[in-house]
Amino acid sequence: MTLSDTLQTSFKTVLSYRIRSLLIVLAMALGVAAVVVLTALGDGARNYIINQFSSIGTNLLVVLPGRAETAGSFPGAILGQTPRDLTLADAQLIGRIPQVKRYAPLNVGAAELSAANRLREVTVLGSNTNLIPIRHMQLAQGNFLAQGSENSAQIVLGAKIAQEFFPRSQAIGQRIRLNDSRFLVSGVLAAQGESMGFNTDEIVIIPIHHAQSLFNTTSLFRILIEAKNHSEIESVKHAVLSVLKQSHDGEEDITVITQDAVLATFDRILHTMTLAVAGIAAISLIVAGILIMNVMLIAVTQRTTEIGLLKAIGATSANIRYLFFAEAIWLSAAGAILGFFLGQFGSWMIRIAYPLLPAWSPIWASTAGIAVALATGILASLFPASRAARLDPVNALSKR
């Protein structure tokens, strides 16, 4: 019996048991579709978060006070206290490191903004002119601490704040109050919406000196650093650590986080999550495989006399085995292909419903889904096929 005859004969058999075949194909297809859709979701979420994270800066390093490692030296460590604050002097030292392209000291606090008879609580960022390019923010109008005005009392408003306070007039040049200090609006941020849970449309930015006096502090919340290029991120990190260790009397009491490291962590976590959901979905493929085995076993029982007849007219055991085998391949291949397209359709629907989420199933997931479907189908048919092949023709034929 030739291969193409085996395939054709079994294909006819599959077609002649229409409902049975349809149900198996459907079970297989749903399993594959589940793998495709769930991995599309998982990978989409991963890409979404990584995009968000990349959007907050390039080649970014963040210096924060305190150390993230346990060390036995100072008693305050247990309480989360730090012996020394980050100061503007530290930031200036960092500015002298040659691989640093620019840096921005950062203080964050809340204050009451009042102008034009309106009042609201806002988040205040205190920084220098570099904050805006480092954080990939954009000014819609005006500027922030342009050359020669580094110490003037300027303020940049978030897009929504500017809209709320000066709905009809030009915001730039207006005078406003933050608590008891007066500021001159020098710029308005372009509307950006939320990124990493931080809405830049509802903040204001003031010079770092003014922020420190406003919040009555001399310490910094963070220092943001942009390295000159990607390959120098690590060397900047080491340079920052050694410079600040020196200025802090030999105590390494700061932590430097690189954007890369955080990105890599997120990437790893979300990739693992995608793998996990793919694994869960793959269980449904195993279930479909068991269904195939069950239905094939029933088919062997139903077709016992037919198998006996085939043997009587000269079929070898191998012929019979391959016929059942081919049947399983047809069923699982049809299920896999249908499931793949169902899954792609589902991912497309998700992309339509949530345009922000790049829900594309990764190629490895689609391939693995189809491969697992075929493999379980074939494995599940091994036992029924060999049972059919082993049937004794005399007994098989005498069954009524």
């Binding site: 030739t2 004969t9 043997k311 005399v394």
Partner: protein, 227 residues
């Protein structure tokens, strides 16, 4: 040519041994027309199954067309069944989801004969058994006589040297039954060895040689000089 020597076949039902065939010696020449008769349980079907290579004897030797059959592998036996032996069963054993033409085609497919040759041979068979009008009907849409004609067409499409028929008219009424027998006898006239198992005396009497069996043994073996 069929030569059986000292064939025994024992079945075990619980702890009881049933001697379905007990030291059978039988020679059937090429082109003979033989009927095997006997009550149920006499071993006639077991004998037919052993001749048709569906069953293996516990001991003894079997020679078919100068070839020792017992020692052949399973695959080789399947090949012998395919090329030398045609089966006709009481209950037809047609594959219900295949059409008449497809049922007849089955042995050709199993032999790996290319599609084009298959088509012409199936057509010849359909014509020979007057089934052209019914070629694309499934067994459920055929009468008993037509079904048995399809089964005979299937048994002969490989041009075997031996046709084995187990109660071929058992499910047919008298007139259709004799029509079917006439078809089988026609094959015999063209040189095929025909062996018919039956418990119908009238039917058995049509054969040139009648073998009577009881309890796994051959009781009578007589030739008819009438034809």
């Amino acid at each position: 040519m069929i030569r059986l020597t000292a064939i025994t076949r024992t079945f075990h039902m619980g702890d009881q041994a049933v001697h379905a065939l007990n030291d059978i010696n039988l020679y059937i020449g090429s082109g003979e027309y033989v009927s095997i008769m006997g009550p149920s349980g006499s071993g006639k079907s077991t004998l037919l199954n052993i001749i048709g290579l569906l069953d293996r004897p516990d001991s003894g030797s079997y020679e078919l067309d100068n070839r020792m059959i017992i020692d052949l592998s399973e695959t080789e036996q399947a090949q012998v069944r395919r090329e030398k032996i045609g089966f006709v069963f009481q209950s037809f054993h047609l594959v219900p989801r295949l059409t008449a033409a497809e049922n007849i085609e089955l042995p050709l497919i199993l032999s790996g004969i290319p599609q084009k040759q298959r088509q012409s041979r199936v057509e010849e068979a359909l014509q020979a058994f007057e089934l052209m009008q019914r070629a694309n009907h499934r067994p459920a849409e055929l009468s008993g006589g037509q079904r048995q004609r399809v089964a005979i067409a299937r048994a002969t499409v490989m041009q075997p040297s031996v046709i084995l028929a187990d109660e071929p008219t058992g499910n047919l009424d008298h007139q259709i039954g004799s029509e079917v027998m006439a078809l089988l006898e026609d094959l015999h006239h063209r040189g095929t060895t025909l062996i018919v198992v039956t418990h119908d005396r009238e039917l058995g009497a049509r054969a040139h040689r009648q073998i009577g069996m009881r309890d796994g043994k051959i009781l009578t073996d007589q030739s008819n000089d009438a034809v």
